[in-house]
């Protein structure tokens, strides 16, 4: 118990440190003193203040929210499907959300009767479309999972659903005009730096509700970890917790995808890192640990994506994939050896 408390303290301090570092690094170097001054409300050089307030701060806050959100949905999917490799990106939930966004952005092009909207001025529409898309895929995957328990088969189905939604998006693009397609394509690259304070006004409250609700679930999630029958035998309603997890995952993934685009592999990797570090599968520890580690890792990914010292930014999705995929391979190999999940 002591060891884990210490880990929590170290990770929290790490987050503060990396958060400040994330504000500091970029094409324009801003000294740490200035950042600390700004955060304390003291005046600093105007150009620095502009960069920090309008670009770096929203980006770093987005990274925190995305990190916590993506990681917790990964944990929720893994526990829900009792599958160590489940995650919103692998199961196609993120793709579903993309399809929702694509339909919302591109559909008016194809069906002229619909009111034309653009990503930049109808956030509610965008969020709702994205969440709906996520729910559709989650509903399909969950209903298949009830009669197919095999770990790998479920993942293959998720990947197939990803292909289907991907193709549907391509078809939508094919029939759309180049300008809308371009704005959609930029969106699909996934970027933390695109978020503005206006978008954060949507992102922060919605995802926070999801994160807060997730913190209330350790009991039920521990119970379903022992299997459906044992969960029922201690009076935990398996149906209720399943629906709750699906709703929370859909809400968080949908909202995040709407603003940041798909983020791959972080959702699988972070819960496993949390289990390895904290040496427990007990959700009482695992849920907060996963959130904090997610924040920390996402901030690191953000720093890496800016290639410190250069002016270019590589897509965040590529960074999370490069970091996350090896962890997934490691988990598969360990799984083969130990024949147990988590």
């Amino acid at each position: 118990m002591k060891r884990n408390s210490l880990l929590f303290i170290i990770i929290s301090m790490g987050i503060v440190l990396i958060f400040l570092l994330d504000l500091r690094l970029g094409s324009v170097a801003i000294p740490m003193d200035a950042i600390v001054d700004l955060l304390q409300g003291e005046p600093i050089k105007q150009s620095w203040e502009y960069i920090l307030i309008n670009f770096r701060l929203p980006k770093a806050i987005t990274a925190c929210i995305v990190g916590a959100g993506v990681s917790i949905t990964g944990l929720q999917m893994q526990t829900l499907f009792r599958n160590p490799l489940a995650d919103t990106s692998i199961l196609g939930v993120g793709h579903g959300a993309s399809l929702g966004v694509a339909t919302f952005v591109l559909a008016p092009n194809i069906l002229p009767g619909l009111l034309s909207t653009s990503i930049s001025n109808n956030y509610w529409g965008l969020i709702i479309a994205s969440i709906m898309g996520a729910f559709v895929v989650l509903a399909i995957v969950s209903s298949i999972a009830t009669w197919m328990r095999d770990i790998v088969s479920l993942l293959i189905i998720g990947v197939m659903l990803g292909f289907i939604t991907g193709s549907l998006v391509s078809i939508l693009q094919f029939f759309s005009d180049p300008e809308t397609v371009q704005s959609f394509l930029i969106w699909t690259f996934g970027s933390l730096s695109g978020t503005t304070w206006t978008q954060l006004q949507f992102l922060i409250p919605i995802v926070s509700i999801g994160l807060f609700a997730s913190l209330l679930l350790p009991k039920s999630m521990n119970a379903i970890l022992l299997g459906e029958n044992y969960a029922k035998s201690v009076g935990v309603s398996v149906k209720t917790i399943r629906i709750t997890l699906v709703v929370l995952t859909g809400l968080i993934t949908g909202t995040l995808t709407a603003f940041v685009g798909p983020i791959a592999f972080l959702g699988i990797a972070v819960p496993h890192v949390a289990r390895l570090l904290f040496k427990t599968a007990n959700h009482r520890t695992l849920i907060p640990a996963t959130m904090l580690l997610g924040v920390l890792l996402m901030l690191c990914c953000d720093i890496i994506s800016q290639l410190p010292g250069s002016n270019t930014t590589i897509p965040i999705n590529s960074v999370t994939s490069i970091l996350g995929a090896p962890i997934v391979i490691f988990v598969i190999m360990q799984n083969r050896r130990k024949k147990s999940i988590f």
């Binding site: 209330l216 009991k219 119970a223 029958n229 029922k232």
Partner: protein
């Protein structure tokens, strides 16, 4: 008078599909009093697990009523039922990274709030359950690293922590070796008596059930249950009817199953009781029938002191120093006759 904990009235179990109903067992009338350890015994596939699942409410019963503590279980929901009945199932727990205490804690879930925060009373009951199952040294160990016997004790401790009048275990001894089996059965018997619980376990291990259980629910292949004292069921041939077939039969004297084999010859055996018993086993396994009449026997074996077997066959006398040698000699003599 003892309180009845579990009461089944005209219960039928089975599966309901959209177009047809598959009945596994019907007309089950049986009950368990507090402090009793009951074994549900029957051949594989006769519906033991289905009955347990039905009592546990994991699947609906087709007919009849099931009472736990005089409450119809159909009327109970989640938590209320979880306070009356705890389970140890055959479901494997595949999760690594959970310590024993984490799993035993789950037993207290019916009593905790929505966050599952444990009160001091819960902690006391968890510690007691861990102690009663001899797991004090294991409470911080990873569940996945334990042996099958230890894992089974963890699941028992979890059920115990649930503090219910009725406890049901589905084939708890299935993967255990003999010492672990005996330990578990002894533990269950002690729990039933000391804590006044009603414990129902399913098994197909006749000898354990005969030895340790107060009552046996004997289920035949058609899913009917005959309930009674183990010894009564032996004497009224109930076991013989359920388990016997063409290749083996139930021997009432010893309480074990014996193979129906053609006999190669008859043996008249005399001597020291312990050595005689084991010699008899070996002879019967090899297909010789023991008879009480020296004249009719093909072979006579006299067990001398100092562990020697004297084999007399017509006019020959052979002294053997082990059962193995004795049987080789007898087999040789038999082959020569043929």
């Amino acid at each position: 008078m003892k309180k009845t904990i579990l009461n089944l009235q005209k219960t039928a179990t089975g599966y309901k599909y959209s177009n047809k109903t598959k009945v596994i067992s019907r007309e089950i009338n049986a009950s368990i009093d507090e402090g009793k350890l009951v074994a549900l015994l029957g051949p594989n596939g006769c519906g033991k697990s289905t009955l347990l699942r039905t009592i546990a409410g994991l699947q609906p019963s087709l007919e009849g009523t099931i009472f736990i503590n005089n409450t119809k279980i159909e009327n109970l929901k989640g938590k209320a039922k979880a306070k009356l009945l705890s389970l140890v199932l055959t479901d494997r727990i595949e999760v690594a990274n959970l310590i024993v205490r984490d799993i035993v804690e789950v037993g207290r879930y019916p009593y905790t709030g929505s966050m599952g925060v444990l009160q001091p009373k819960d902690e006391i009951l968890i510690n007691e359950a861990i102690q009663q199952c001899n797991l004090e040294d294991y409470s911080d160990r990873m569940y996945s690293e334990l042996s099958d016997g230890e894992k089974q004790r963890v699941m028992l401790a979890r059920a115990l922590a649930q503090d219910t009048p009725l406890m049901m275990l589905d084939e708890p001894t299935a993967h255990l070796d003999l010492p672990n089996r005996v330990e578990l059965m002894k533990m269950l018997r002690d729990l039933a008596q000391e804590m006044n619980k009603a414990i129902l376990l399913s098994t197909h291990e006749l000898d354990l059930a005969l030895q340790w259980c107060d009552t046996i629910w004997l289920m035949n292949t058609d899913g009917y249950i005959e309930s009674g004292f183990p010894e009564d069921l032996v004497l009224n041939d109930a076991f013989a009817k359920v388990f016997s077939n063409d290749s083996f039969y139930f021997d009432k004297t010893t309480g074990v199953f014996k193979l129906n084999r053609r006999t190669y010859g008859t043996v008249f055996l005399t001597g020291n009781n312990v050595i005689k018993e084991w010699t008899r086993r070996a002879l019967e396994r090899e297909g010789y029938e023991l008879i009480d009449n020296e004249k009719d026997a093909t072979h006579c074996v006299h067990i001398q002191d100092s562990k020697k077997w004297l084999l007399k066959n017509q006019n020959k006398k052979i002294s053997c120093s082990s059962i193995e040698e004795l049987l080789n000699r007898i087999n040789n003599l038999n082959n020569n006759v043929k």
